[in-house]
């Protein structure tokens, strides 16, 4: 808890939620993206369509799901379709406005790794793998990524590129024929990074209140590009904080028991 009465994680989730336009069709990953997407739905973006890769379309879960296919999602969805259908007809079909992903590692061009730390064939840490992420990152019209910023996560070179962002920068993503325009923002516990319009290198464009630019630089495993004018993120409003905390409290109560 900072002196301001909110945590860095709360700021990250709230800043992420604000990026979601009301009415957008959102393909959402589990964890931080799901929390932010539901906060957006409960605040400024009630008409946002949440798609989870379990095939639940228009889910309105009363608590945050622990998995991407919890009963709270299917029971509140406008439609539940099969896995081949959600990936082939909806995602590959070009019907998703915004993909929202987390990651274990990210590089300067917003490529992400959720597969292994170390060598693929002899990894020091085996991570869960790709799931839907490569195609979400490729085919959504745009992509948001959220993860905590530190040198273990923000690395000079990924051990494995699970999902493509702006590849090697410049027009390389376009040349590789990835359909969507790729990551448009990376939201961390320290600030917001956006790709440079030409080089596509992630550039620090906003710092959360009370975070020094040096902290962001020290927490990045490459020489971080800083925008000429770095904005200060608006602090959480009382309403945003109250709704987020209520959501987490309901979720904790629901997950403490046997789920019934």
């Amino acid at each position: 808890m900072s002196d301001n009465g909110y945590t860095a994680d709360e700021m990250m989730t709230i800043a992420s939620a604000r990026m979601i336009r009301n009415g957008a069709v959102l393909f959402v990953g589990i964890g931080l993206p799901s929390a932010a997407a539901n906060l957006a739905r409960l605040t400024h973006a009630p008409d946002t369509v949440l798609i989870y890769e379990s095939g639940t379309i228009g889910a309105k879960p009363p608590v945050l799901p622990l998995s991407i296919g919890d009963g709270e999602l299917s029971e509140t969805a406008d439609a539940v379709v099969s896995i081949p259908e959600i990936f082939a007809y909806y995602l590959q079909g070009g019907r998703v406005d915004l993909g929202f992903l987390g990651a274990a590692q990210i590089d300067r061009f917003a490529n992400i790794n959720t597969t292994v730390i170390g060598d693929y064939r002899k990894p020091s840490t085996r991570l869960p793998g790709a799931g839907g992420a490569p195609e979400i990152a490729a085919s959504s019209k745009e992509v948001l990524i959220t993860l905590r910023q530190n040198k273990r996560a923000f690395v000079k070179k990924l051990d494995f590129v699970t999902s493509g962002g702006h590849m090697e920068g410049g027009d390389s993503r376009e040349r590789m024929r990835l359909p969507g325009k790729g990551p448009t923002a990376v939201i961390t516990d320290l600030g917001i990074l956006t790709p440079d319009p030409v080089t596509k290198e992630l550039t620090l464009t906003s710092l959360h209140p009370g975070v020094a630019v040096e902290k962001a630089v020290e927490s990045t495993g490459w020489p971080l590009q800083i925008a000429a004018h770095v904005a200060t993120t608006d602090p959480p409003t009382a309403n945003e904080l109250a709704i987020l905390r209520d959501l987490y409290a309901r979720t904790a109560r629901a997950h403490a028991g046997n789920g019934n």
Binding site: S67, S82, F87, A130, P134, A138, T162, S163
Partner: protein, 313 residues
């Protein structure tokens, strides 16, 4: 069990039953016990898909495979979770075909990681995909096509490490597209809400890739919450007709700790508890011995778990 036994000796249908829809001489789906179905239809060295996308995960069937000590299996599943962690730790598995392997919302699958990182209890070969690729592979299997095609894996390193991901050129537009070979399991195992006495199977809610996995398989085992006189299925719901289904066994609660919509909720507390149970080899081995290997069936497993875990009651 209130299942009606069809009165046929198991040997009478052991080969013909469960052969897929491509075999037109298929007899009726057989309502049997899970123990018999696994005993007859799952063989050492088989490729087995126990499918279920967070919902309707066939835990009871996975336990029975562990109890019957099948070995050298290739397991396929988009989202291997706790039951695959148990099968891997119990030494049943030599290869995994998958696209996301974790304990959803909790963290790692420690037995999967131990097999990959340390080769315990045996080395585990991986054939790793993304969800869209596995879905296409099952759909190709069900369609009896040699491969599935998708606009996928663009920008990903996965094709560098999985030679079963290749790129082809569209003959009409020239677009470069990904291709994956059809996935055709020897046996697909699923859990569903209901079957009728003839063996027609009904499932609803998050239906995942189960229909495709069943239609892609050579043999099929379905566990259900209940066998009923009439399915009363709405016309467009997911119904697997009896003649594409091999064996049907009633196992109430057979998807625990995952859920069966309309019957019981996901037991999130068990998913969280699994992290500590599975983290070390000795605690895992003690757990699998006490709750799976030395219990007679899934009811026995549930009873043994109730003795130690409050969240099961």
């Amino acid at each position: 069990m209130k299942n009606r036994d069809w009165g046929l000796g198991i040997g009478g249908w052991g080969i013909a039953v469960g052969t897929s829809c491509h075999n037109k001489s298929n007899p009726l789906a057989q309502i049997t016990t899970l123990k018999q179905a696994i005993g007859e239809m799952v063989r050492d060295g088989d490729t087995i898909a126990l499918e279920g996308f967070t919902h309707l995960i066939p835990f009871a069937a996975g336990h029975e495979i562990i109890r019957q000590r099948r070995r050298n299996l290739t397991l396929a599943r988009m989202t291997p979770d706790l039951i695959y962690d148990q099968l891997i730790g119990a030494g049943c598995v030599s290869k995994l075909i998958f696209s996301w392997g974790g304990n959803p919302g909790v963290g790692s699958l420690h037995r999967l990681r131990d097999a990959v990182e340390q080769g315990w209890p045996a080395p585990l070969a991986l054939e790793e995909h993304a969800h869209a690729g596995m879905a296409a592979a099952y759909a190709a299997g069900a369609s009896h096509l040699p491969f599935g095609v998708l606009r996928g894996y663009l920008g990903s390193d996965l094709p560098r490490y999985n030679t079963n991901i290749k790129f082809i050129e569209c003959p009409f537009t020239g677009e470069r597209l990904a291709a994956v070979p059809a996935l055709r399991p020897d046996v697909t195992v699923i859990h569903a809400q209901k079957a009728d006495r003839r063996g027609n199977v009904l499932l609803w809610g998050v239906v995942g890739v189960q229909k495709e996995a069943v239609l892609a398989a050579k043999r099929t085992i379905v566990t259900v919450e209940e066998v009923v006189d009439r399915l009363d299925a709405p016309p467009n719901s997911v119904v697997l007709p009896w003649w594409v289904v091999g064996a049907v066994a009633e196992v109430k609660g057979g998807a625990f700790p995952s859920y069966a919509q309309g019957y019981y909720a996901r037991n999130n507390a068990f998913y969280k508890a699994w992290d500590a149970i599975s983290r070390e080899r000795d605690t895992f081995l003690a757990w699998i011995e006490r709750h799976v290997l030395t219990t007679a069936d899934f009811d026995g497993f549930k009873r043994s778990l109730e003795e130690v875990a409050s969240y099961v009651r």
